[in-house]
Structure formats: C-alpha cells, structure tokens
C-alpha cells in the first residue's frame, strides 16, 4: 500500500486540495447569485446604505478633527502652513473615498438601480398575476409599491449627498490651490485667514452633510 507521504501521491495531494480551493472560489459567486430572490436587491441596497452612514460617521469625526486642528494653527512659521496643507490633503482623500461609494456608476448607485428595476418588474409581474385573490394581490402590490417608492426616495437623497460631497471636494481643492499660490508669494497672514475661513466652511458643510446622511432612509422589506 502506498503511503500518502511518498512518491507522486505526495505531490498530487496538495495539488488536489489547492485545485479544489480554486474550483470552490470560482464557483462561489454563481452559487450565491442562484440563491437570490426578488427582495435581495432591495436588502443589498439597504445594507450598503447603512454601511455608508457608518462610514460617514468616521468622515464626520475626521472633518471635525481637521477643522479643530487647522483652527488651532498659529500664524507663526511655515511648518504650521505645511501641517494645514497636509491636513487639507488628508481630508480631500477621505472625502474622495466616500464620494467613490456614492458616485454615479459607484457601488450604491448600481445597487439602487438594480433594486429599483427589480421592484418595478415585480409590480408589472404582480399586475398580470392571476394566482391570488384580488385582496391578496392588492396587498402584495401595495407592499411592492411602498418598497419601490422608498427605494426611489433613497436614491434621490443619495443624489443630494453626491452633490454635497462633490461641493466639499471642490471647496477643499480650491482653497488648497489658493493657499499654495499665497505661499509662493509669501503672504503668511493671508494664508492663515484663508485657512480659518476654510475651517468655518468645512464645519458648515459637515453639519449639512450630517443632516443629509441621517435623513436618508433605507428601504426596508
């Protein structure tokens, strides 16, 4: 009898295991999609919206932290300006990563579209369906209409969040460029004024964003 740890078998056994892993990984995605039902796209969209709200809390803290840090900088020394610029750059990167989620064609946009078209298709299907009694059919149609309207509302609110993030990014980059120009002509006091004005604007935008994000209601099944 051949030992598992000798000859060709010793080489083949891990090969079989790794090959099996490869097959499993390649098949995993189709298996999952086969398990989806009509409500899954709405639930996926809802879940991702909740994730966005959580990520926004982190960004909100970052905005507040940056605003405090920039605000606390004194007018003395070039290193403070460098710190402020670095902070603005970091904030821009943080806003950018969140904008990626809500951008057109981004994760949430695609999920919202899928959820909305699924709800619309389901409504069309139900209107043609003769399996149920009229009151049962009316009930199901009413439920799907509610889901469709909630999803539609959530995608509209997402559109507003997208515009706000874009506006914030534009504000940060415009101020950053202006500060760069001022540094080049050694206008230290003016740099500090711009930084403090930016801090106020960031705080204002942060408050508006917070209200907006908190107001987004996920469609619930």
């Amino acid at each position: 009898m051949k030992s598992f740890r000798s000859g060709k078998t010793a080489i083949r056994r891990p090969s079989v295991i790794v090959g099996g892993m490869l097959l499993f990984l390649l098949l995993a995605a189709p298996v999952r999609s086969a398990e989806t039902d009509a409500i899954t796209p709405v639930e996926d969209f809802s879940r991702e919206l909740d994730k966005l709200k959580k990520s926004f809390d982190d960004l909100g803290k970052k905005i507040d932290g940056s605003a405090k840090m920039i605000d606390g900088l004194s007018a003395e020394g070039a290193s403070d300006v460098d710190k402020a610029k670095k902070e603005i750059e970091d904030l821009r990167a943080a806003v950018s990563s969140l904008l990626a989620v809500v951008a057109d064609g981004g994760t949430l946009d695609k999920l919202g579209d899928t959820a909305l078209s699924r709800a619309r298709d389901k409504l069309k299907e139900l209107e043609r369906d003769n399996r149920f009694k009229q009151e049962e059919k009316d009930f199901l149609i009413e439920q799907w209409r509610r889901l469709r309207d909630d999803t539609d509302r959530a995608t509209q609110e997402l559109g507003s969040a997208r515009s706000r993030f874009a506006e914030l990014l534009r504000m940060l980059q415009a101020n950053e460029d202006f500060i760069d120009e001022l540094v080049q002509i050694r206008q230290a006091q003016k740099v500090i004024d711009v930084i403090h004005q930016l801090t106020r604007e960031i705080r204002g935008t942060s408050d508006q964003l917070q209200r907006l994000i908190n107001g987004i209601k996920s469609p619930r099944a």
Binding site: S15, M21, L22, L25, A29, A93, L99, D104, A166, Q173
Partner: protein, 129 residues
C-alpha cells in the same frame, strides 16, 4: 523530491491568486472625479466619457469616478460617429467640473476651470480640476 513538491504547490497557489484576481478583485488605481452638468438639465443627449456611454443624467448632473489622466468627453454625431467635445484632466482625489451647453450645435463644453489655448495644436477646450 521535497523541493519539486514545494515548487508545484507554489505554482498552484500562484494560479489560485491569479484566478481570484481575474475573478473580480478590482485593481486599485489612482482616481479622481468628473462632474458633468447639462444645460438645460432636462435634455436627452447621448454622452460618452472615454468612449463609455453614460446613462441618462439624473436632473442633468453626474459625478463620475475616473482613473487619473486625460478623459475625452464626446457626443454622438451623424450616423453614430463620436464627436469629442473636450478633454478633461483627472487628478488624484480632485474633481473637474464641466457644463455641456446642448443649445449649441454641436453641444459645447464650458469648463469651470480651463487652461488657456496657448497650444496651437489644441483645438478643443481642456478642462482642469
């Protein structure tokens, strides 16, 4: 024997990593954003960014993520031929805004910020972020 076994396992592991990468893990590149606004907003104009057709703009506005570099914004001309309206510079974690005036024929790009046309070879607007 041990080293042969080790190398074939390593090869298979590399194949697994390669297959997983191909199966859907996106390759992360530096990216920025392009904001497109239509004027007037409620107009159905087919727009293409780097030859990729954009879905109808919601309320005449779209914010799209693009890899860093220069993107071409185009519209559909006669017989489906693409007409490039402007070039858009995409920089890391920055946004470049452009408004498309569809009242003009062909539609015209109005860059929020642009580089003045000092280069004689440049015949269309160049929007920067």
């Amino acid at each position: 024997m041990g080293s042969r076994r080790g190398s074939s396992v390593a090869q298979l592991l590399m194949a697994v990593v390669g297959a997983v990468s191909l199966a859907g893990c996106p390759f992360i590149e530096d990216a920025g954003y392009v904001e497109i606004k239509l004027a007037p907003a409620e107009t159905a104009t087919a727009l293409y960014l780097n030859s990729r057709r954009l879905k109808r703009l919601n309320k005449g506005t779209a914010v799209l993520r693009e890899n860093v570099g220069t993107a071409e914004l185009a519209t559909e001309g006669n017989q489906g031929r693409l007409i490039v309206l402007c070039d858009i510079e995409v920089r890391k974690d920055r946004i470049t805004a452009v408004t498309i005036s569809v009242l003009d024929r062909p539609p015209r790009c109005q860059c929020q910020n642009s580089i003045s046309n000092t280069d004689a070879a440049r015949v269309r607007p160049y929007c920067v972020g």
